[in-house]
């Protein structure tokens, strides 16, 4: 898909995000806005998938796992805008009896979601397991996953990292939302990740880097990552992003990690984001 088209979709997704969280005065806009360009590009340009006929097993399809489940608003919007479920359903986010739970879940059968997430650190293991099943099934599709940088403080991530290299799980492309911020502040101030690139390399991963807000660069780095699939080495992309990207007052701070805008702030945000596909 043309980059300009993807940018239009991303603008609408950002509108969806701020409207969803504002409507219920809860949710996580910061990371959602930061990962919008990536997830839009992934779902509309990169992944081989079948939004019209969701199937849990996803045989013959690429799979995506959101490990940092709190950025559910961006995922829900991208899923709805890609055709997994009606766009109008975004209005039910975090409301009673909704399929759009605060954090992604499978029990209410929302198409597009294959695993609950929210308790951090679990998604890489899950993605690796799904990737190994693909190998057992002679299914050459790819498994994608997304993780927060703060989430990398969870020990299970590094258990999974060690395992992936030892077992040569080379049909996974993991991505880290490397925005440098988490709830309590800057990641460097909470618990520094040190040299993240060297860490992943030391764990045996092929590490790529990209700007998560340059859709052309996302396309080219993802293409590069796909070309490395099958090399016997797991692949990870450190994606530099800005928490709150697209809404000026949410950028440059960790404060909008898990806070919803009020009515006035929502109007301000929507004035900065073009309505391209029509609001839900």
């Amino acid at each position: 898909m043309e980059t300009q088209e993807l940018e239009k979709i991303a603008s609408q997704v950002r509108r969806d995000i701020v409207r969803m969280v504002a409507a219920v005065s809860s949710g996580h806009p910061g990371g959602s806005l930061g990962c919008t360009d990536f997830l839009t590009t992934l779902y509309f340009d990169i992944m081989k998938h079948n939004p019209g006929q969701f199937d849990m097993d996803g045989m013959g399809e690429d799979l995506f796992f959101l490990s940092n489940g709190h950025i559910s608003p961006v995922w829900y919007s991208v899923l709805a805008r890609s055709g997994y479920f009606p766009v109008d359903e975004l209005a039910t986010f975090r409301k009673i009896s909704s399929r759009l739970q605060g954090h992604p879940a499978t029990d209410k059968k929302l198409p597009g979601i294959r695993m609950a997430s929210g308790s951090l650190g679990q998604g890489l293991s899950v993605a690796l397991g799904a990737a190994q099943t693909k190998k057992l099934n002679d299914d050459d599709c790819i498994v994608y996953s997304l993780h927060g940088d703060g989430e990398l403080q969870e020990g299970q991530i590094w258990e999974a990292a060690m395992y992936a290299a030892a077992h040569k799980v080379d049909n996974i492309i993991a991505t880290v939302d490397y925005n440098g911020r988490q709830i309590d502040g800057d990641v460097d101030d909470v618990i520094s990740l040190g040299n993240l690139k060297l860490k992943w390399q030391a764990f045996g991963w092929d590490v790529l880097e990209m700007n998560g807000h340059d859709i052309d660069e996302i396309k080219s780095v993802m293409a590069d990552a796909k070309s490395k699939v099958g090399n016997g080495v797991p692949i990870i992309i450190l994606m530099k992003t800005e928490m709150g990207q697209g809404v000026d007052y949410m950028m440059g701070t960790h404060k909008w990690h898990g806070v919803a805008p009020n009515d006035e702030q929502l109007t301000d945000a929507l004035n900065q984001l073009e309505e391209t596909l029509g609001d839900y």
Binding site: D107, L124, T133, L136, E159
Partner: protein, 320 residues
């Protein structure tokens, strides 16, 4: 003296070996069965499976949280993962991973937990989990199975492949009498009545089932007719078996290698309190950690041996 139907002892073996044999057998029949283990392949008796199906065996190292996540992910695409380690590391250590990625996500993962309870023995309390039945049965979607002997563990291991959903399968280390017939068919949620009786119902699981049979024989010598039920499935509990038996005997002893809090006894008590409140005595560990020792010594010291069941039966009959 009351006659109890003779229960033939067919041999003696550890239940974990039943798991190992069952895994190999179901893997031969079902190509979707895969195995994962956290550096305890020998202890879990998974070697035969590993040797026969190396491409379907995944050594995860000492990383149980990752093992649970991997297993959950492997179900996407139709695999049936059997994830094995010691019961302590299969539950308490990874509770949140099981809760979110297995139970809440309702994935077809079989958590296979060996060396459960005091009978792990000399390694001591760090390894002797006595809370795992409670932890697992509280999780929605989770089935909890505690087979009684080698044959039943093997049969249960095979049977759970056909159950679509999370299962916690608990077994152990020591060699114990085999009395379930090798041709018996394991049915999840359907209790086995081993001995008919009229005066007291003894409901047990795991290693305490044979102890209950021994207790029934001793009670018979004292003129007490005890009914013995092997409640191999803690969840879903066979409520009908409980209620039909107590309708006759009017009192219950529950026996398990687990804490009183949250185990089989509490599940039975809930059924009784809601339907037919009758006196109940617990034979279980009373809110304490274990310690190093031989399995038989530990069962004696912590009050979960044959004579404890006998005494509990006499006491509960007095309370009727």
């Amino acid at each position: 003296m009351i006659e109890t139907a003779a229960i033939e002892v067919l041999g003696k073996k550890d239940t974990r070996s039943g798991f190992g044999e069952g895994l190999l057998e179901i893997a031969k029949r079902n190509k979707d069965v895969v195995g994962l283990c956290a550096d305890l392949t020998g202890s879990l008796k998974m070697n035969a499976f590993q040797n026969e199906f190396p491409e379907r065996f995944f050594q995860v190292g000492i990383a149980e949280a990752n093992m649970i996540g991997l297993a959950a992910g492997m179900t996407i695409g139709g695999k049936i993962p059997y994830a094995g380690t010691f019961a302590n590391f299969a539950t308490g250590r990874v509770y949140d991973q099981i809760r979110q990625s297995v139970a809440y996500s309702n994935k077809n993962v079989k958590i296979c937990a060996s060396h459960a309870g005091l009978t792990l023995g000399e390694d001591g309390a760090t390894h002797q989990i006595l809370e795992d039945i409670g932890l697992m049965k509280m999780l929605p979607n989770m089935t909890v199975i505690v087979p009684a002997d080698f044959n039943q563990t093997k049969q249960a291991t095979i049977a759970i492949a056909d159950h679509d959903g999370p299962v916690y399968l608990r077994f152990g280390r020591p060699s114990v009498p085999i009395f379930v017939k090798p041709e018996a068919k394991f049915q999840i949620g359907k209790a086995d009545k081993l001995i008919e009786g009229a005066d007291v119902t003894i409901i047990a699981c795991g290693h305490l089932v044979w102890k209950s049979v021994e207790a029934a024989q001793q009670l018979a010598e004292n003129g007490i007719s005890a009914e013995v039920i092997n409640m191999h499935t803690i969840k879903p509990l066979d409520e009908t078996a409980v209620l039909e038996s107590v309708a006759k005997t009017k009192c219950v002893v529950t026996a398990e290698e687990h804490m009183k809090n949250g185990g089989l006894g509490d599940s039975v008590a809930q059924v009784l309190s809601l339907n037919n409140p009758v006196p109940q005595e617990y034979v279980a560990v009373n809110d304490t950690f274990g310690e190093s020792g031989k399995p038989d010594e530990l069962m004696g010291k912590y009050g979960i041996d044959t004579h404890n069941i006998v005494e509990a039966a006499k006491k509960v009959i007095q309370r009727k």
